[in-house]
């Protein structure tokens, strides 16, 4: 599915479907919460930003409160934390870059805020990577912490295969196959990388319609004014 059609479905479903059904991006948020966020953050996105994906304020507060934010140091100089709030950023689980690399064989899990925009292949590339893990072929040896993946140029990646069939349960009953989850989480990351896109297009239609009407009226006006001199 191209990015265009996926966005179209997202926009249509956000406006047309009843609240209980879920869109790929909404299901993708669940995948992010339960799978991706174990290693990745979205440091420019706030928990509260999820309200435009249909999360209620209570759901956002509950999710945020389960996460810890750094909060200065105590009297002994030891780092303190506090529960996150809706306005806090969705940080990586690692307190700093060195810790992130230490936990991942020297590689740092990238921030996901704009990944679907900055990867040359966009969200589709993320989906392909998630679906292209395979057993390492005979005769090929990979370093520790590298996994065979046919979607990449060098055929390996530092991220262990993150998805397994049925590893989570979607509340709307959609079967959580790996392919389904890869589809959903790439839709979610596409939504994250293009903030306010649905609202942008909705307002755009009104603005362009208004300007077209004004263009028609001013055209009639100027023709009437100029007619006397033709």
């Amino acid at each position: 599915m191209t990015r265009w059609t996926r966005n179209l479905i997202l926009v249509a479903s956000l406006t047309a479907l009843p609240a209980c059904a879920s869109t790929p991006a909404q299901r993708g948020l669940m995948v992010f919460q339960q799978v991706c966020s174990a290693c990745h953050g979205m440091e420019h996105v706030a928990y509260g930003d999820m309200s435009s994906l249909g999360l209620s304020p209570d759901e956002i507060r509950k999710w945020a409160a389960d996460q810890q934010m750094p909060n200065g140091t105590d009297d002994n100089g030891d780092p303190k934390t506090r529960p996150a709030t809706a306005t806090d950023p969705i940080l990586s689980p690692y307190p700093n870059e060195a810790m992130g690399r230490l936990a991942n064989h020297g590689l740092l899990p990238p921030d996901l805020s704009r990944l679907a925009l900055t990867l040359p292949g966009g969200a589709e590339e993320i989906r392909q990577i998630l679906l292209s893990y395979a057993p390492t072929p005979a005769g090929m040896t990979l370093d520790e912490g590298r996994y065979y993946n046919t979607a990449l140029k060098w055929k390996h990646i530092g991220m262990p295969p993150p998805l397994q069939d049925g590893m989570l349960t979607y509340p709307d009953g959609t079967p959580a196959t790996s392919a389904q989850m890869a589809n959903d989480v790439s839709a979610f990351l596409d939504w994250i990388a293009h903030p306010h896109q649905a609202e942008r297009r909705r307002i755009g239609v009104y603005v362009v319609t208004y300007l077209a009407l004004m263009a028609f009226l001013t055209f009639l006006l100027q023709r009437r004014i100029w007619r006397a001199h033709r």
Partner: protein, 392 residues
């Protein structure tokens, strides 16, 4: 000629008029102001430019309120504008789309002046202030592009500042003045922010000069023959206000199309990666409006030579009123110019496309041919054509 509007002389002098005659000035300059009857759609681009500048300054003020000019926070503050600040995404798109609209209109506006000979006597100062405005807009756009502190901001600025450094004598002090140190860092970001903000208002001042000059010498027109009698003119209002109003609606539809439906079309995705001095992007590409000059920089093997040709390509425009001495204005009435000028326009576009592609031998060759034609047109064809026309 009987104007449908009352002239200020017959109005009873009122309180304000006796103290500060702004109302009669506005009436003289924007209501009863005599305009040629035969202006075409290209004469609306000045109005587009004024409106775009107003959008740029208004949106820029709101961006500045929410922006942090510090290398540790600049990128995040721009992300917050796009994501969390109410309507921030709209204000920022208005500003980014506005740059494209501003440059597109500038290039068309200048192209129209070249085609219809609007730079000739008595409009030399109008031409020079206009070119000055273009240079100021370029400096402002360069400084503004650094502010989001993305990868292209950082590496684009590095390329430009290295080029500035290569200028003999003044290059080194000038680049040090902009950088405030050895490398592009926090001090430079602060300076470029102040430069960007200040230049915006300096541009407003020069626009005032440009418009004042226009109101002294009046508009050129497609025939190139200035109207001599009042019967050959029409008052600015309501004739050109209504026509510009219609044109503005069409213009704003294009602008809105960019802002609301194609916000990613004109930005490079690499600029959504925070600046990293240790990682050079695979290819450093300028925004489209700088692409022609970037192509010139790359097409010349020597750094100083590229810089001289790139700045020379603009400098020849400043000397044009004196290179082209013929009294004939529109290219339509000048056989040589009618052939040569469209080729110069095409050369500019070829350079623009070349600047956005990797420098393969084919693009380098195309760039070099285009540069050559640009200079041949202005330095050889124009003096030659005016020589011939004056002798015949």
């Amino acid at each position: 000629m009987t104007s449908p509007l009352k002239t200020p002389d017959t109005d009873p002098p009122d309180w304000l008029e006796r103290r500060l005659p702004v109302m009669s000035l506005l009436r003289r300059q924007y209501v009863a102001f005599p305009m040629p009857r035969n202006l075409n759609a290209f004469w609306s681009f000045g109005a587009f430019l004024i409106v775009t500048m107003a959008f740029m300054i208004a949106s820029g003020l709101f961006l500045a309120i929410n922006y942090t000019p510090d290398i540790t926070q600049a990128f995040a503050s721009v992300e917050a504008i796009d994501r969390q600040i109410p309507s921030g995404w709209f204000i920022r798109s208005l500003h980014m789309g506005g740059v494209t609209m501003l440059f597109a209109c500038l290039y068309i506006h200048i192209g129209r002046s070249l085609w219809y000979g609007s730079y000739k006597a008595p409009r030399e100062l109008l031409w020079l202030t206009g070119l000055g405005l273009m240079l100021m807009v370029m400096v402002t756009a360069f400084a503004g592009y650094v502010l989001p502190w993305g990868q292209m901001s950082y590496w684009g600025a590095t390329v430009i500042l290295n080029a500035v450094h290569a200028i003999p004598l003044i290059g080194q002090p000038l680049s040090e003045l902009l950088l405030g140190g050895d490398t592009l860092g926090n001090v430079a970001l602060h300076r470029l922010f102040v430069l960007h903000f200040t230049m915006a208002f300096a541009i407003l001042g020069v626009i005032a000069l440009h418009v004042a000059a226009l109101h002294v010498v009046k508009s050129n027109n497609p025939s190139g023959i200035d109207p001599v009698s009042p019967s050959q003119t029409l008052p600015f209002h309501p004739y050109y206000t209504s026509r510009d109003g219609f044109a503005l609606c069409l213009f704003l539809m294009v602008y809105a199309g960019l802002v609301f439906f194609l916000p990613d079309l004109l930005t490079l995705a690499d600029n959504y990666v925070q600046a990293n001095p240790l990682v050079t992007p695979r290819d450093i590409r300028p925004e489209w409006y700088f692409a022609p000059f970037y192509a010139i920089l790359r097409a010349v093997p020597s750094r100083l030579g590229g810089l001289l040709l790139a700045s020379g390509s603009l400098a020849v425009l400043f000397t044009l009123p004196w290179l082209d001495r013929s009294a004939l204005r529109p290219a339509t009435r000048r056989p040589m110019v009618r052939l040569s000028l469209p080729l110069a326009f095409a050369a500019f576009m070829v350079l623009g496309v070349a600047g956005m592609h990797a420098p393969t031998p084919a693009w380098l060759l195309a760039s070099r041919v285009a540069i050559a034609w640009w200079f041949i047109h202005f330095l050889l064809v124009m003096p030659l054509a005016s020589e011939r026309e004056m002798s015949s």
